[in-house]
């Protein structure tokens, strides 16, 4: 389980095979096109609705662009982007809690507004359970089970040791099994 799963599909756009020149505007645009969908996929799992995920994706690339000249080509570029994206998601979740508190006060006595119908229609119990996990656990799960990262790659993306990644994944799976009633 430490390496990429043999059955897992290779990354759709193979960004790790691309080479980029730090500070190059053209290369950053290419990086954006090559990685946007995968970063968005991660963020949708972490921030609960598609518009927020799209906003976070743009924020991620803004932050990345500001640091683009200092990015080191020897580091995996998508892991670097994922690290920024996860920090953006954590920040967004924090702001979301504040917004929700304000929203509760604002709509006292009125029915709650629904979530994104397009997303709800396709959501499963499993996906909703993943979204309710702590952000860092959900991030580890989506990197492992959607993007097919190894624990080492997840560790590089999150800036944590492999053992911590394994621990987070085990905790998350155990939690999901309990929530979903799987033995």
């Amino acid at each position: 389980m430490e390496s990429r799963q043999s059955g897992a599909p290779p990354p759709a756009e193979g960004p790790e095979r691309e080479t980029y020149q730090p500070g190059s505007q053209a290369d950053f645009e290419r990086l954006y096109r090559n990685t946007y969908r995968r970063i968005l996929g991660t963020l949708i799992t972490l921030v609960r609705d598609v518009p927020a995920a799209e906003d976070c994706a743009q924020e991620t690339y803004e932050r990345a662009y500001r640091s683009w000249s200092s990015w080191r080509p020897d580091a995996p570029v998508e892991a670097w982007l994922h690290r920024i994206a996860i920090n953006v998601a954590i920040s967004d979740r924090r702001h979301q809690r504040i917004r929700e508190a304000g929203e509760i006060v604002r709509r006292l006595g009125r029915p709650a507004s629904g979530a994104d119908p397009a997303l709800v229609a396709e959501q499963s119990d499993v996906f909703r359970a993943i979204q309710k996990l702590p952000t860092k656990q959900a991030a580890a799960l989506v990197l492992r089970h959607y993007h097919g990262y190894s624990n080492r790659e997840i560790g590089a993306a999150l800036g944590i040791p492999e053992q911590t990644v394994a621990s987070r994944l085990a905790t998350a799976r155990k939690h999901l099994q309990a929530v979903l009633g799987r033995s």
Partner: protein
């Protein structure tokens, strides 16, 4: 057991995320509008903005209180009219007695203002109000009076002091 949940996770993630991720890629947001907004509304930026606004509000309040105490009105136009009419009448008196310049008049108004503020604060007996208002009134009065007198009409009777050697 573990592989079952892993397979279920992968299927669920792909079922939900693949269609959404297949949408067209939007243009990259190039501006820093959101970041600039967050600089003001979040983190250290928010603290700095709050301090700045508090400082401006405190300064405005101090000016309003000083003007209101002196003239009995919160309208700044009234403050200006009060000072102008007082200085004008003073100037007329000086002209009749053969003098010229408004330095002494401004000095008198400022000193009177300082004394009034101090008296008002003592009358209220509020320790906080007393301390801050008294300080403002006295300082402003004597400083403005001396400065105005030196610059406008009393240069011989109030010579400009020599520059401080410490600077």
């Amino acid at each position: 057991m573990s592989s079952d949940i892993e397979r279920e996770l992968e299927e669920a993630l792909h079922r939900v995320l693949d269609p959404i991720s297949a949408r067209p890629i939007p243009a990259r947001r190039a501006g820093h509008s959101r970041s600039a907004f967050r600089t003001v509304t979040g983190g250290a930026g928010a603290a700095l903005t709050l301090k700045l606004l508090t400082g401006v509000a405190a300064a405005a309040a101090a000016v309003t209180v000083a003007g209101a105490v002196t003239t009995g009105s919160v309208n700044p136009v009234v403050w200006g009219q009060t000072i102008t009419s007082t200085v004008e009448s003073c100037k007329d008196n000086i002209a009749q007695s053969g003098g010229h310049g408004i330095g002494q008049c401004v000095s008198d108004v400022a000193n009177t203002h300082g004394a009034n503020v101090a008296s008002e604060a003592r009358h209220h007996g509020n320790p906080t109000s007393n301390g801050s208002t008294n300080g403002n009134g006295s300082g402003s009065g004597s400083s403005n009076g001396n400065s105005g007198a030196t610059g406008h009409g009393k240069s011989t009777s109030h010579p400009t002091p020599p520059p401080r050697s410490g600077r």
